[in-house]
Structures are given as structure tokens and as C-alpha cells.
């Protein structure tokens, strides 16, 4: 009997359907080439899937580098010739479950053909078929899940794996009932400040306990430093000031350690502080709501955060990983419907804020170049915002003398304008040729039920359909498109309605925060994942303690079933009994652990 028959016969005892499917499928997806050691290795799409020298040694090194906690189900992404799965099984205790995701039977067919599998294959659960059936199979193996990726093989099926991860994240988000303690660190000032506010609000509405560590209260002092004429002094002091604010944040985190530190772009957390946080087992995430090409400070911070969420896809994600970031995910901007919504305006407000065409934003170079072509037309045009100094040809349409426009006025303008222009900022002339991310204004306008004309963005089609948001591919199209849309009020209003509905369905900050947490939850099953899934709640903990620790189970039974219970709460419950009460051995152990826990984390 050849290797294929041997393997398939054995596989049939555990998964007869898979064995049958493999007999039906063809192979040839992998190019089998002997390694220097004589063992079969493989290539696909011109790249080695396993080492060309020693596939076993390479697989063992990979397996050694994978971390896991007792009781987790290990989900392996990447099939190849299964050397890595064999090495992982050899390293794990026998009780651990390994699930192998098989997105393409032809690869497994190749793997079965070239060498005979050992006893380790009996420990593997094979998750194959549609995304839904793979997800079901993974979830049926038990929680918590830890996804490990053998990248050389997994890269062959990146899309399929992404779909499976997304499905798992949706399940986590759908089942999430546990309350996290999240510290949100915003910027001292700037565009990410309101986004921080929206994120905090969204997290709270998801039921989490959120603490906003808000350095913007120090903004006045920080701005004073900008008045220093000596640039060297100014930069040095601003750097020191940011470092001091970073230390303040650390002190705040030490006082009440959260489950997750979520920083927004421009948060004053410097790399040494982030490294210190990691040493103290704080989990950190950054939502980098910036254009990575323009603001490049991410290069210095990439290795500091455990998770990066960015508003751009490739090559942004690759650049961050190259700079040292371990986990980088795409998380686009959003709107907050409680803020960004249709408004009933007074006549006076309509007169001041209304126009046929409007734009709200700062005077970037591309806007200064394009907007003069919109003057002296048959429509009225109003320009709102600051940093338009020197744009003399636009003075006639600039409102409020170019003052900064607050959110309140901004929303009134969105609501009162017939056509809102949404031209993404760029330092060049025309449209940004690399324009990829979709700015917050897109979502905010849509959430307001306002019609908008945007410049073309490569990531727009994933977020809004062409019948929801109108995009232009060239600045020259502006006059014609404005004229057209002004003349088609019904179609315009229909588009605006659909765009708003799309935001409400998919693009709120609640959606984003839910996605962010579920992604972290899947990647961190023993920490964020288990809290989200409710396994830290009193009832779940009591059930886990019943057999081995009955006194502890009884103590846990005194809490409301869905209350999240930590060591300090359990210890406090024990202490709250009569001081003369009898303490069990379990009680004493809990109290001892809590004595050591109660030491303030040495962060400052």
C-alpha cells in the first residue's frame, strides 16, 4: 500500500467523509522537490512551502516558537506537507486538541501522497469544506481557541483564512457578554480627539467599563511651548512634555490596571513606556486613524503595541510589520449616529449654513488648487474651515473669516448643503494618486443623510456602493457632476438615504469597536477572548471550581451569575465574612494570592 492509501485508510477511521473527498480530489497543487536531507519538500507559486534543507528541523523550530495556554484548542492555518503539524503535536501535551484548517483538498492530497503520516494524525481534527462548515468544526472543538499560522503554507489561501477568521470574530462578537475594563488614551489635541470620544462612547454602549485617560486637559500648556521661538528648545521641551504625559498615563494605568489599553493616534505613549507596559503584561492596541504616508511616527512605535488597527490596507500593513508590529489589522473610520444625524434646522441656520455646494475642512494644497474652478458658477458655494491663509481667490466664499469650525456648525453645514464636497486632503495638486483610505467625513456626511461628492478612493467600494456615495476620478469632473446632481434632487436624496442606511448597518463606531475587540479576542483567547465570552463571570467560574474547589465555588456563588469576578473581588468577599469566621484552605490560598496581587504595579 502506498503512502496515500495508508494515510487515507487511517484518516477514514476519524473522518470518513474527508477521506472519501480526498479520493475524489486531485493533487498537484504543490510541486514536490526533495530537500537536502532527502525528505520531500514542496514549492508553490515559485516559493518554498517547507525548508529546502531540512523540513523537519524547520518545523520543530516553528512549533517551539508557538505559545499556548493549557486547555486551549490550537487551530492551525496552513497545510503544506504537514511537517509543522507533526512538530506541533509532538510538542503539545496529549490532551491538547489540534484543529487543522484545510481550505483546499488538493494540497492535503499532495501531503497524503508524499509521505506516511504517523500517530500524530489521530490527534488532529480536520476542518474542511465551506467557510461556515470550517467555522462550525473549529467552534465545536471547544474554547478558548488559539490560531497559529504556518505562514509559508497559509499564504496560499490567505483569502480563505481571512474569511474563516472573520467568521470566528463574528461569533466572538455575537456571543460577547463579558465586560472588559478598557483604558482609552487619546491625543493631547487634534483630529483624533473627537474620534477618541466616539470610540469611548461606543465601547460604553457595548457594555464595557471604559476609562478615558484624556491628556487633552494639558493641551493649553502644551500649546504654550509652541510659542517658544528657539526651535531647538521648543522641540526638546515638547518631547519632554510628551514623555511626562506618558508617565502620567502610566501612573493612571497602574492605579487601576485595565484588560486593554486602547490608544488613538497621537496618544502620548512613547516606546519605552509601551515596552514597560508589555513587560507588566498590559495588552495594548493602537487605532492609527492617520494616513501612514503623511504621519510617520508609527515607525518609532510599531513594535510597542500588541495590536495595530489602521485605516489603510497594503502596503500600509506590510510597512508596519516591517517596522516591528506583530498584529496589524484594517479598521476603517466610522460615524457616530448619535452625533452625526439628520437635523431639523431653523430658517436662520439654513440661511447661514446652507448653500448649493459646500466644503468643510482645512486649506490643503489640493483643495486650494481645485476649488477656484468652482467659483462664479450658477450655484452658490460656501467654504468652511481654517488654515486658508493666502488663498485670496477663495476669500469671497470663505465663511466666518476662516475660523476653526466646531462639530455643531459642521453638522449644520452638512445638513443644510445640497451638495457636500468631500475632497480628501493631499499635499499635491489634484486628487491623491495613492488615495486609498476613506476619511471620517465620508461616514459623517452619510450618517447625516447628506449628499456628498468625493474624490475616488481605492478602499471606497468596500465601504459604500456606487449608488450610495458618488465618486469622481478627476477634479475636472467637479463642475459637471455638481450641476448634474443639483438637477436631480430625487436621485440625490435617494443616494443620501441609502448611504445613511449603510452607515447605520455597518459603519458606526459601535461596529468598529465591536470588530476591534473581537479581533483582539480571537488573537488573545486566554485574556480578552475569555472575558468577552463570559468565562470570567461568576457562574462560569463557579462551575469550573465545583469539583476541585467547593468552598471557592460556594464563594463565587454569592456573586450575581453574570458579574465578572476577579481575584480581588473574590478575596474581598472572603474578607467581608465575619473576621472570626472559619477560613478554608482555599480561602487562605486566595487571600495569599491577593496579598501579592495588591502590590501596586511598578510602572512609574
Amino acid at each position: 500500500m502506498n503512502s496515500f492509501e495508508t494515510n487515507i485508510s487511517r484518516l477514514a477511521r476519524r473522518d470518513s467523509a474527508l477521506a472519501a473527498a480526498l479520493r475524489q480530489s486531485g493533487g498537484g497543487r504543490l510541486e514536490i522537490i526533495p530537500a537536502r536531507t532527502g525528505l520531500p519538500s514542496a514549492r508553490a507559486n515559485g516559493r518554498w512551502v517547507h525548508s529546502s534543507y531540512d523540513p523537519i528541523k524547520e518545523a520543530q523550530a516553528w512549533a517551539e516558537s508557538q505559545s499556548h495556554q493549557d486547555g486551549e484548542t490550537i487551530v492551525v492555518l496552513g497545510v503544506g506537507l504537514l511537517y509543522h503539524v507533526e512538530a506541533l503535536c509532538a510538542r503539545l501535551p496529549r490532551a491538547e486538541t489540534v484543529v487543522l484548517v484545510v481550505p483546499d483538498l488538493s494540497v492535503l492530497h499532495d501531503a497524503a501522497s508524499v509521505r506516511t503520516w504517523g500517530d500524530w494524525m489521530d490527534r488532529v481534527t480536520w476542518a474542511w469544506g465551506t467557510t461556515e462548515s470550517v467555522t462550525e468544526r473549529i467552534l465545536s472543538a471547544g474554547h478558548p481557541l488559539r490560531l497559529v499560522t504556518y505562514a509559508p503554507a497559509a499564504s496560499l489561501h490567505a483569502d480563505g483564512h481571512r474569511a474563516i477568521e472573520t467568521a470566528l470574530q463574528r461569533r466572538v462578537a455575537g456571543q460577547a457578554g463579558g465586560q472588559l475594563r478598557i483604558a482609552v488614551v487619546g491625543p493631547i489635541y487634534g483630529g483624533s480627539l473627537p474620534i477618541t470620544r466616539y470610540a469611548v462612547s461606543a465601547l460604553e454602549s457595548l457594555g464595557h467599563h471604559v476609562r478615558w485617560l484624556d491628556p487633552s486637559v494639558h493641551a493649553t500648556s502644551y500649546h504654550q511651548l509652541e510659542l517658544l521661538k528657539n526651535a531647538q528648545h521648543r522641540l526638546a521641551l515638547q518631547s519632554k512634555y510628551a514623555e511626562m504625559l506618558s508617565r502620567v498615563t502610566m501612573a493612571q494605568l497602574a492605579e487601576d490596571p485595565p484588560d486593554l489599553v486602547l490608544a488613538l493616534a497621537q496618544a502620548p505613549l512613547i516606546l519605552p513606556m509601551l515596552e514597560h507596559l508589555r513587560r507588566k503584561r498590559f495588552l495594548t492596541a493602537m487605532w492609527f486613524v492617520e494616513n501612514y504616508r503623511h504621519l510617520t511616527y508609527w515607525q518609532q512605535l510599531a513594535a510597542g503595541y500588541d495590536f495595530w488597527f489602521v485605516i489603510q490596507q497594503e502596503p500600509c500593513i506590510a510597512a508596519l510589520k516591517q517596522a516591528g508590529a506583530k498584529e496589524v489589522r484594517y479598521l476603517p473610520m466610522a460615524a457616530d449616529p448619535s452625533v452625526h444625524c439628520p437635523l431639523e434646522l431653523t430658517q436662520a441656520e439654513r440661511e447661514e449654513c446652507g448653500s448649493d455646494v459646500s466644503f468643510v475642512g482645512a486649506g490643503y494644497a489640493n483643495r486650494r488648487a481645485i476649488f477656484p474652478s468652482l467659483l462664479n458658477r450658477e450655484w452658490s458655494f460656501k467654504l468652511w474651515g481654517n488654515e486658508w491663509d493666502g488663498a485670496t481667490d477663495l476669500t469671497c466664499v470663505l465663511q466666518r473669516n476662516g475660523d476653526r469650525i466646531d462639530t455643531d456648525i459642521c453638522l449644520k453645514v452638512f445638513n443644510a448643503s445640497t451638495v457636500n464636497l468631500n475632497l480628501h486632503s493631499w499635499a499635491g495638486i489634484g486628487f491623491d494618486p495613492n488615495g486609498d483610505f476613506v476619511n471620517p467625513r465620508t461616514f459623517e456626511l452619510a450618517a447625516c443623510g447628506a449628499f456628498q461628492l468625493t474624490d475616488r478612493r481605492s478602499l471606497m467600494s468596500d465601504l459604500f456602493a456606487a449608488n450610495e456615495v458618488a465618486s469622481l476620478s478627476s477634479p475636472d469632473e467637479f463642475p459637471g457632476e455638481i450641476t448634474r446632481w443639483l438637477r436631480e434632487p430625487e436621485q440625490r436624496l435617494a443616494m443620501a438615504r441609502m448611504a445613511r442606511q449603510r452607515v447605520l448597518t455597518e459603519h458606526t463606531y459601535v461596529h468598529r469597536m465591536s470588530s476591534l475587540l473581537s479581533q483582539i479576542g480571537v488573537a488573545s483567547p486566554d485574556r480578552i477572548g475569555s472575558i468577552l465570552m463570559g468565562s470570567r463571570q461568576a457562574a462560569a467560574l463557579a462551575a469550573a471550581a465545583t469539583d476541585s474547589f467547593p468552598t471557592t465555588a460556594a464563594s463565587l456563588g454569592t456573586f450575581p451569575p453574570t458579574q465578572r469576578v476577579e481575584l480581588k473581588q473574590l478575596a474581598a468577599q472572603i474578607r467581608s465574612r465575619s473576621p472570626m469566621g472559619t477560613l478554608s484552605r482555599e480561602d487562605l490560598m486566595v487571600l495569599m494570592l491577593d496579598e501579592y496581587r495588591s502590590e501596586t504595579k511598578d510602572l512609574v
Binding site: D70, F549, L583, L591, L593
Partner: protein, 402 residues
């Protein structure tokens, strides 16, 4: 006394503080084993001190308290709790002792030591009268707390207060830490072997504000070597004292080559005990090594300032000397007077007073250690007997109502 002298069974002494406190536990070990010679007495101490604890006479097993492991658990457990963790803790405790001790004597007032006693023994005797969660202190624990807050006229040494905590009297004679010779690093093997006075200088201190500045040591060693030409000096301390030791060597004349050994950071605790044993005098501000020196039979001379107080933590046993500063951060140091004292301790009473410092000599009697001024005109009345009587009466009362 509560415990029958014929009683058998396993008892445990819990001392989870630093080196000095561990060595100062020798008298209570001597008294407990003298009272119940048929009971085995084990010792629970911090892991890093365990090898020294194994040199203690009269101690059976030495159990190592793994503080680092507890800290690691604590680091892992912030914001979390899983019942399965208790399994790991249970395994750790079972490895310490499979059966609970009959009695644990707890010498520390902190909750960890008290909880450790409750976890490892059926009965706990120590600072708390009614269990880990009840705040009522034993009479001796109350007395020690009072002394810590306002020292007043206290003349009871901490070692003897440990005896009081455990319900025993101080030993009639100071215990001696005797042990077979321990090998030293080869370049230190000759320490104490040649003629002349061998002086160990304890370079640092547990806390930075209790350390003697390097320039002072430079002056002191220079004065010593000019006064006692046959003298040899050994610098001792931990790894973190090595830079201070180098600074001292840099500041000394090259002419003293051959008279100076640097052992900082190069000895284990048993080796340190051996090193101190080979020296005639051990001088310094760090009370831990001074206690160890006194225990191994060497003469100790301490400079006490900051929070260090001669009456509570002076070197135990007769024949030791302590210079007590009037203020926490002394600006002048009794360099010449202390050097002279090493050569002629009998003439101490005739010494001119040193501004800002008082000189005390240790003695031992039925109430344990007592420090008296060099001229023996202690203005404070020795109240040890009355304190012992009062606390012993209070002790009987709560024991009687148990």
C-alpha cells in the same frame, strides 16, 4: 506555658523578612528547642536565605518560600481569576509539606507570613490572636508596633521580642552559629589565615539612605591602616555594592596593596558567614552582616543612623559595639575614635565623647541583649523585667479564654 515540654510533633518557625531578621531569629530557635526538645523545629524562610538557614543549629528542615513564584503568579493574576490556579498553588504548598505542622510560630507582622502560618499549620502562634482576618494583636505584637511608632525608652532587643512572640524567654546565652569550614573563592582562601587583625568592612546597606558614603570609608580604612600596620581589610557586600567597593579602592593609597581584599558580590551567604567568621572585627552600617558576624563569633562594630537603632537591632551577644548617631543623616563620623576602639576596646570608657554620636556596648543577661553606654551610665532605666512581666500577664489572659 502552653506547650508541654514533653510534647512531640512538628513545629515550624516562619521568618519571611531579610537576612538580619533571619539571623536575629537564632535566639528564639534556641529557646523553642530548649523548651520542647522532643519536637522537631523546621524553618520557613525566603528562598535566597535558605542555604544560610541550613547552617542554623537545632533546625530540622528548611523550607524555601518562593517569593518570586508568588510574585509571578500575582503578575499573571491581575484582573483575572481562574479556579485552576489554585491547583498550582496547592501543588506548591504540598511540595513544602505534605502534612500540616502542629504549630507555626510566625515572627513577621505582615499578612503573608500570617497566612503562610495558617496554610502550613493547624495552629498559629504569632502576631495575631484570632486568625488572619481579625485585627487583634498579641501583647508582644502590640508592643513591637508601639516601639516601631515611638521608640521611647525601649530596651528590648528584637531577637528577644521574637522570643516573647513565641511565648518563650530569651536563651540564657547567645546562640552561636557554628559550622564546618566552607570553601571560599580561591583568591579569598587566605583571608583570616595570616597574622594581624582582620577587619571586614561592610560596604553598603540594605537601603541607600543607610549606607556609609565611600569617602568616609576611604578615610576610615586609611586611618585604620595607619594606626594598625599589620591590619588587613576585607570589603564585603552584595553584587550591588561592587561599584562602591571599587570607588573605595580607587580612593585609597596604592601603598595599601596586599592589605585589602574585595569580596563584594563574590560570596554566597554561607561563604559570607565563613568570611566573617575568619575576621576579628566586622564593621559597617548594614545590620544583616553585623548580625551574622555576631552569630559566628566575631566582634561587631556598627554605625547606626537613619532608622537603625542600637537597642532594637544591635549585634546580639556580649562584646559588640555600636556608634549611634543623634540624627538620621550624620555629617561627621567617629573615624579616629572607632579605629582606636578596635585596637583598645578596654579603653573605650576613657574615650573622649564624639560630637553627634554615642557609643554603646552589648551585654547579655536573663532578659536577653542589652546595650549600655561605654561608661555604663545609661540614663534610661532598664525596664525589660517589668515589660516582660506585664506582657506575660497579658499573654496568659487571651490564652486562657481561647
Amino acid at each position: 506555658m502552653r506547650h508541654d515540654e514533653e510534647a512531640t510533633g512538628r513545629t515550624l518557625l516562619i521568618q519571611l523578612a531579610r537576612l538580619g531578621d533571619l539571623v536575629q531569629s537564632l535566639p528564639v530557635i534556641a529557646s523553642l528547642t530548649a523548651r520542647c526538645p522532643h519536637r522537631s523545629l523546621d524553618l520557613l524562610c525566603p528562598g535566597p536565605l535558605a542555604d544560610l538557614g541550613r547552617l542554623f543549629p537545632l533546625v530540622g528542615q528548611v523550607l524555601e518560600w518562593n517569593g518570586a513564584q508568588w510574585h509571578a503568579w500575582a503578575e499573571s493574576f491581575v484582573g483575572e481569576f481562574y479556579p485552576s490556579w489554585l491547583q498550582e498553588v496547592e501543588q506548591y504548598l504540598a511540595a513544602l509539606t505534605s502534612e500540616p505542622y502542629e504549630i507555626a510560630y510566625v515572627l513577621n507582622q505582615h499578612q503573608r507570613a500570617i497566612l503562610a502560618g495558617s496554610l502550613l499549620a493547624r495552629e498559629v502562634q504569632g502576631p495575631r490572636l484570632r486568625g488572619p482576618l481579625h485585627g487583634e494583636l498579641s501583647p508582644w505584637a502590640s508592643y513591637l508596633r508601639l516601639v516601631a511608632q515611638s521608640r521611647g525608652a525601649n530596651r528590648i532587643h528584637l531577637s528577644d521580642a521574637f522570643c516573647g512572640l513565641c511565648g518563650v524567654a530569651p536563651p540564657p546565652a547567645p546562640p552561636v552559629l557554628d559550622f564546618p569550614s566552607i570553601d571560599l573563592p580561591s583568591d579569598l582562601a587566605d583571608v583570616g589565615r595570616s597574622a594581624g587583625q582582620w577587619i571586614a568592612v561592610v560596604v553598603g546597606a540594605g537601603d541607600a539612605d543607610r549606607a556609609i558614603p565611600a569617602p568616609v570609608w576611604i578615610q576610615w580604612i586609611s586611618a585604620l591602616l595607619s594606626h594598625e600596620s599589620l591590619c588587613s581589610v576585607v570589603l564585603v557586600g552584595s553584587e550591588r555594592d561592587q561599584s562602591a567597593a571599587l570607588a573605595i579602592q580607587d580612593g585609597l593609597s596604592p601603598m595599601i596593596h596586599g592589605h585589602l581584599w574585595d569580596a563584594t558580590g563574590r560570596t554566597t551567604l554561607p561563604q559570607l558567614a565563613e568570611l566573617l567568621k575568619r575576621c576579628h572585627w566586622v564593621v559597617g552600617a548594614d545590620t544583616g552582616p553585623l548580625h551574622l558576624a555576631a552569630a559566628v563569633g566575631s566582634s561587631a562594630m556598627g554605625f547606626y543612623f537613619s532608622r537603625a537603632r542600637v537597642h532594637e537591632t544591635g549585634p546580639y551577644g556580649p562584646g559588640h559595639w555600636v556608634w549611634q548617631a543623634d540624627c538620621a543623616r550624620p555629617e561627621t563620623w567617629p573615624i579616629q575614635a572607632s579605629v582606636k576602639l578596635l585596637g583598645e576596646p578596654a579603653a573605650a570608657a576613657q574615650q573622649e565623647p564624639v560630637a553627634g554620636w554615642s557609643l554603646w556596648q552589648s551585654h547579655h543577661d536573663e532578659w536577653g541583649a542589652i546595650f549600655r553606654p561605654a561608661g555604663d551610665d545609661d540614663p534610661r532605666e532598664d525596664q525589660r523585667a517589668s515589660v516582660w512581666r506585664r506582657l506575660s500577664e497579658q499573654w496568659v489572659l487571651p490564652q486562657g479564654v481561647r
